[in-house]
Symmetry: C2
Subunit: 136 residues, 2 copies
Amino acid sequence: MQLDMNYSKQRELILYEIKKSKCHPTAFEIYNELKPGNPALSLGTVYRNLKLLSTENKIIKLATPSGPDRFDGNTDEHYHYYCISCSKVCDADDIKASDISKIFNNPKQKIVGYELNILCICEECNKNNIDVSNYK
Amino acid sequence: MQLDMNYSKQRELILYEIKKSKCHPTAFEIYNELKPGNPALSLGTVYRNLKLLSTENKIIKLATPSGPDRFDGNTDEHYHYYCISCSKVCDADDIKASDISKIFNNPKQKIVGYELNILCICEECNKNNIDVSNYK
DNA sequence: TACTAAAACAGTAATTATTACTGATTAAAA
DNA sequence: TTTTAATCAGTAATAATTACTGTTTTAGTA
Ligand SMILES: [Mn+2]
Ligand SMILES: [Mn+2]
Ligand SMILES: [Zn+2]
Ligand SMILES: [Zn+2]
């Protein structure tokens, strides 16, 4: 895995962990995953590298409707399902930026990207008949 | 302005302030706006009421790509431009939920809404020729 | 390889955003 | 009215994130 930026053992570890993960982990989740095998790792290092990696476009920072920021190793522009019941974040692989841009008519702003969270009840929560009247 | 929930002077003030505002203020901005005319108002009361008002669907809580939550007195489903240079949030009035729903094919999840932030350089920042290579 | 400078580290402190607690006040219900 | 429940202000606590500091690691160069 190429960093294209200054190397450190920790930076490589953190990037590898995010790339491997499919569940859009938080900084703290990444830290907890790596800590057992790397006891000297500090949470500050995780935060610092997540910020650096995202400004270098190696990863994407996701703001979700509630809770801490999440991180995504898939840097292709794509969008997310967000379950309002269990807060799970899943990729919406079938929606493309070109589809979204189609719904505009001549915005005055210069558009540089989209963040789309599709609020939903995920399959699993739906099976469990979650009462959803309290949410939103 | 009807509350349809327990009344308090502070609750009414806060709701009125959000409804009046066009700029999607943060809790702290609302507090600062109201404090001079209401010296006894506490920030905790602002947070508590913002949470209550949004669970009662009187207002909407907005998560933005960075910074604290913002609040919106317009509860019609609508979407936002978010300037990556100055963090300004503007309504995207021309995009409808039905337009967004069109771009799906049979999601497994039960969709309950969308949060779309259109990342952009706003008109004003664009005029000022903001260098944008450092962003995103 | 050895030297130097820059970057990154761990550990900790500080800051920001938000929520929880407590005893006093206000609103709603009886 | 009297009673009960909700809300308040003020404060403390928690969660998320960033900043600081002295040490270690990496990178550039002789
Ligand atoms: Mn993703
Ligand atoms: Mn709005
Ligand atoms: Zn779920
Ligand atoms: Zn701007």
